[in-house]
């Protein structure tokens, strides 16, 4: 299965679904005009992925998210959470910039509603 990649634009993040590494990466900024049309293909990939795979690590690094993207990410997290509750092995790594504040707070908002292990990783510690 080939990896699925969407290159980033000014208002949409880089997305990579790596089937071999069992990893989904979402990195950049998210404030497109139509957030739902950007995120919908990713929902479909997740549904298809969990038909044949049992584990997935998701690395998020989103420095800025507008409110319509927030709604789309809530849908995404709900979807992941349903799979987690069905026994799939899922880990979320939320990479944030300590100086930004915005991205860390967003992660805290998302974390509250789901049961999936949710790790906060400072990008300054990674550098």
């Amino acid at each position: 299965m080939n990896d699925f990649v969407i290159e980033n634009t000014k208002s949409t993040p880089y997305v990579k679904f790596g089937y071999e590494q069992k990893k989904l990466i979402v990195k950049g900024e998210s404030y497109p005009e139509n957030s739902y049309s950007f995120y919908e293909p990713i929902y479909k990939l997740i549904d298809e992925y969990f038909v044949s795979f049992d584990e997935l690590t998701i690395d998020f690094q989103l420095s800025y998210i507008n409110t319509s993207s927030i709604k789309c990410l809530i849908i995404l997290f709900d979807k992941l959470n349903a799979n987690y509750q069905n026994g799939k092995n899922i880990i979320i790594n939320w990479h944030y910039d300590e100086d930004n504040g915005f991205d860390y707070d967003m992660g805290q908002d998302f974390k509250m509603d789901i049961d999936i292990p949710f790790n906060f990783i400072s990008i300054s510690a990674e550098e």
Binding site: I70, I74, F102
Partner: protein, 181 residues
Amino acid sequence: MENEIYVLQKKLKQANIEFIFSGTFSQGLIEELGVALKQRLQLQQATKSKISSAFFTFVEQTQNIKQYEVSKENTKDFSVIAGSGIIAISKNELGYCIDSGNAVSNEDIAKLKEKLEKIISMNKDELNSYFREVSRQEIDMNSDRAGLGLIQIARKAAGKVEYKFEKIDGSYSYYILTVTV
């Protein structure tokens, strides 16, 4: 008589306005202006958290203005509302002030005022739980997006969000939102 552009430029300077755009916002324009705004604030050595709060407020407000304009296409209000948007960023003692404005139909004011008053009356803890509540309610993507955006703006603001409706005539007003980050 002084040249109008020169008069305008002097006024912007007096008001400490660093950055301004007036007209119709497109997504492409919002992206370009957003990048320019971030660069401008970086040059001034603003902290990352100030830059991201200013950028967030800028994007939410301009996208709201754009969305409102689009929602009025093919209505009698369009000629007044189209192109009436403005966004200005100025420096003040607390940080940066983001003012945005656009013409609105007087019929839409009551609903907007109700949302604004509710948000302004809340402290940060109340805003946090209200954000959670509304973010889950608003999963329907077609629902009014201004609600959640305003809550998020208020959460990130340094002080209280301020607003004003200047009367244009019996049918329209000019809505101004002022946010300090």
